[in-house]
């Protein structure tokens, strides 16, 4: 009988299962990058060349930071998996377009080196790296972080303050007046022709990207929907002129809520692992955002609310384990 040739090949012996899906970390990360791309491109169109520079510098700094850490620690270089790229892109999208690029670079380094790699690298960080980077820049250069460009691309947006800034400092009536009526205000927020951070302005493009991620099953729809709805409900109930006088539509589209809810509050690494836990996370982040907007010193609270909820995610995981089979009969 003829021998079956194994070609001197040694058979691989390992535990089951012996087949795996095509899914991989880099596939997930590059898909998220792709989902962010339309809103990022719109930001560049909206704010001009300086926004492009901030994005490019932030991404390069994040990727270089990861390469540097892994090289120094003698670990495998994983910059091609798209996760450092994503951190850089997300951070830039949450920065004012006029920010000096070196500040963006330092934010990226802090995000990657301190937030991500000092905790053990991808998968081990407790906090969302992009938001840690943003928070670090915020406390280091508060003036630069709250100076907004004067938009010239649209007649509706000839202001150098963000809508939330106007609301905080001059009130709702002034806000509506600035935009020339609520329909115009909503339109500017929906399309993105308003002032704000580079990638946070266009509700429609961010939602499209988010829906793509939900379709790819990288994101549970409950998280963005519940976070945004929570903000809407609380800001509606606790309006400026007493109960049920708020403008939930404005609050749900303003500031960094849309990008935060779809792309930050859904960061797998830093949120609870079960759907039940994620729902608690989303509602908590929404409530904190509304609290900061309505009562806090800052006009916007998405970044801090998500970071605060990141901190309690391990606790949420503890109290929301999956229900094991056979427990209910």
């Amino acid at each position: 009988m003829a021998e079956i040739k194994l070609n001197d090949n040694i058979l691989t012996v390992s535990t089951s299962p012996h087949i795996r899906s095509e899914e991989s970390i880099s596939k997930i990360m590059w898909n998220v990058n792709a989902a962010l791309a339309p809103a990022a491109l719109f930001g560049i169109y909206n704010f001009g060349i300086h926004a492009l520079i901030v994005i490019v510098v932030s991404i390069i700094a994040a990727v270089a930071g990861e390469y540097f850490v892994q090289k120094v620690r003698g670990k495998e270089i994983t910059i091609s998996d798209g996760s450092a790229f994503l951190t850089g892109l997300l951070l830039a999208m949450c920065l004012p377009p006029t920010l000096p690029p070196y500040m963006a670079a330092i934010g990226s380094f802090i995000a990657i080196i301190i937030c991500k790699h000092s905790m053990g690298g991808l998968g081990w960080n407790i906090f969302n790296p992009a938001h840690i980077g943003r928070a670090a820049i915020m406390v280091s250069w508060p003036v630069a972080m709250t100076t907004w460009s004067r938009l010239t691309t649209s007649v509706d947006t000839v202001t150098s303050a963000t809508p939330l800034n106007i609301l905080k400092q001059q009130g709702y009536a002034k806000l509506v007046e600035t935009f020339g009526g609520t329909p115009n205000l909503y339109k500017a927020l929906f399309l993105g022709t308003r002032n704000g951070s580079i990638g946070e302005t266009s509700t429609i493009l961010l939602v499209l990207g988010g829906v793509y991620l939900i379709y790819k099953r990288y994101v549970n729809w409950q998280v963005p929907v519940l976070m945004i709805l929570t903000v809407g409900v609380i800001t509606w109930v606790f309006g400026p002129a007493g109960l049920f006088t708020g403008d939930p539509v404005f609050h749900m589209m303003a500031g960094g809520l849309i990008i935060g809810a779809f792309f930050m509050a859904t960061d797998m690494v830093t949120i609870p692992i079960t759907i039940k836990g994620q729902i608690i996370f989303a509602i908590g982040a929404g409530a904190l955002t509304a609290l900061i907007r309505l009562k806090g010193g800052y006009p916007e609270g998405v970044c801090y609310s998500i970071l605060l909820m990141n901190a309690v995610s391990p606790l949420i995981d503890r109290v929301c384990p999956p229900i094991k089979f056979g427990a209910r009969r």
Binding site: L6, L11, S14, R20, K27, G123, I273, I275
Partner: protein, 439 residues
């Protein structure tokens, strides 16, 4: 019936390699290597010695323990060796090697004609025990034990597990198309032994021809044939019972806790053959498939045929194999060589190429939660794997329900970080067992 069970994954079933191929009787092997341990329970002791002439169907190893199962000669010939040989599950095992004399003669007094309706339950259990029948889906638990539940457990339902949810495998599928009558009688015999009226046949709906063949064959028997959504692990006992009866087997319990006994397609055919004709379990239908085998087939193989000869019967390998698997790709055992033999629980021999295996480099968990979503047992595989990595096996057992894991592999299948979760879980289980044994 339940609509679906929680969790599960949808691997490409790769059944088209062999789904339309009729069962082929493999050429008689030149020799067989028959391990004395082909079941869960007490191993048998050889009752033949080197140099003996044996006939097909003759008992060559046995044990008087209740949880044990006889081993028979699967060909006629001369005992060439009684020694340790490689075993597909236990690594090494005392085995009886028979050199084929080419005559394929039955031992005397084996073949009989019997009317099963005239036999009582105890007689049938005795026949099943004598015939060495074990669960042929892979678990190899002695069937006569499974059919003798303790008196305090009231059994009211029998389920024929014909889900065949493992990718590649089509042996049960083909048997349903080709051996329908033997399946029906086998099921009726089992239901008589158990004294139950309610019977189900659960088949995944990726086998519509098998569903209609079974529906036709079971007409008028009171047994319901039900098509189940195709989702791995549909054929896991607990999932199957949940789907068909909406009962959840409690944690750590057996199906009989909820009044159910489950048997595999091959097993009821073996029961039919043993009870009606006295034929012991000496052959089985096995799917030989995978991207690296030349001509994938469903083969009727004698127990003890080496993997080398089984693959040879399929034209050999087409390209360099990366892995050789006994059983299905999700729960089967990877083999280190081709000298191991087909035992009673070998539902498939898979010759997988590097592309089939698609293994990647393992990295840290990114907590994406796919494993949690995929786990049919409602566990947190992510956490179990991390605890395993850190040798925290006690915490895994106490706080994270380690022992509920059925090792179906759904978590590993979808893991983007390519983590070997099942390996960590097995490690934790072994460490806990070792610790318990020390006490």
């Amino acid at each position: 019936m339940s609509k679906s069970f929680r969790g599960g994954v949808h691997p490409n079933d790769r059944k088209s390699y062999t789904a339309s191929k009729s069962i082929e009787i493999a050429p008689l092997p030149s020799k067989v290597v028959i391990p004395v341990r082909q079941h869960i329970g007490a191993p048998c002791s050889p009752v033949v010695k080197k140099g003996d002439e044996v006939k097909k169907g003759q008992v060559i190893a046995s044990n008087d323990a209740f949880v044990s199962s006889n081993v028979h000669a699967s060909i006629s010939g001369k005992v060439a060796d009684v020694a340790e040989y490689p075993h597909p599950v236990f690594g090494k095992c005392l085995s009886i090697v028979i050199e084929n004399d080419g005559l394929d003669e039955w031992a005397e007094g084996i073949l009989v004609e019997r009317d099963w309706q005239k036999l009582n339950a105890d007689e049938i259990r005795g026949i099943i025990r004598e015939a060495g029948i074990v669960g042929m889906g892979g678990a190899t638990f002695p069937t006569h034990v499974k059919l003798a539940p303790p008196k305090d457990k009231k059994i009211d339902t029998f389920i024929l597990n014909a889900a065949e949810c493992e990718p590649y495998l089509t042996a049960d599928h083909r048997m349903m198309l080709e051996y329908a009558d033997r399946i029906v009688t086998g099921v009726q015999i089992v239901m008589k032994v158990l004294g139950v009226d309610k019977g189900y046949v659960g088949i995944e709906d990726n086998k519509p021809d098998a569903i209609s063949a079974m529906q036709k064959a079971f007409t008028g028997t009171g047994v319901e044939v039900i098509g189940l959504p195709t989702k791995y692990p549909q054929g896991a006992e607990k999932m199957l019972i949940k789907m068909l009866t909406n009962r959840e087997v409690p944690s750590g319990g057996l199906p009989m806790e909820v009044g159910v006994v489950v048997q595999n397609v091959g097993t009821v055919i073996a029961i039919n053959d043993a009870v009606l004709k006295g034929i012991p379990l000496i052959e089985r239908v096995t799917t030989v498939s995978g991207g690296a085998v030349k001509e994938p087939k469903n083969l009727l193989l004698r127990v003890g045929t080496t993997f080398a000869e089984a693959i040879e019967a399929c034209g050999g390998v087409a390209k360099t194999p990366e892995k050789i698997i006994m059983g299905g790709p999700m729960m089967g055992f990877a083999q280190s060589n081709l000298d191991i033999s087909v035992i009673k629980g070998v539902s498939g021999i898979l010759v997988l190429s590097k592309e089939d295996v698609n293994s990647g480099k393992e990295s840290a968990c990114i907590r994406c939660g796919r494993c949690v979503d995929a786990c049919p047992m409602g566990l947190n595989p992510s956490m179990l794997s991390i605890l395993g990595e850190r040798n925290l096996y006690e915490e895994a057992k106490e706080d994270f329900n380690l022992l509920d894991c059925v090792e179906c592999g759904s978590c590993v299948y979808g893991c983007p970080a390519k983590r070997n979760i099942v390996q960590y879980i097995r490690y934790c289980k072994a460490q806990n067992a070792a610790k318990a044994a020390k006490k």
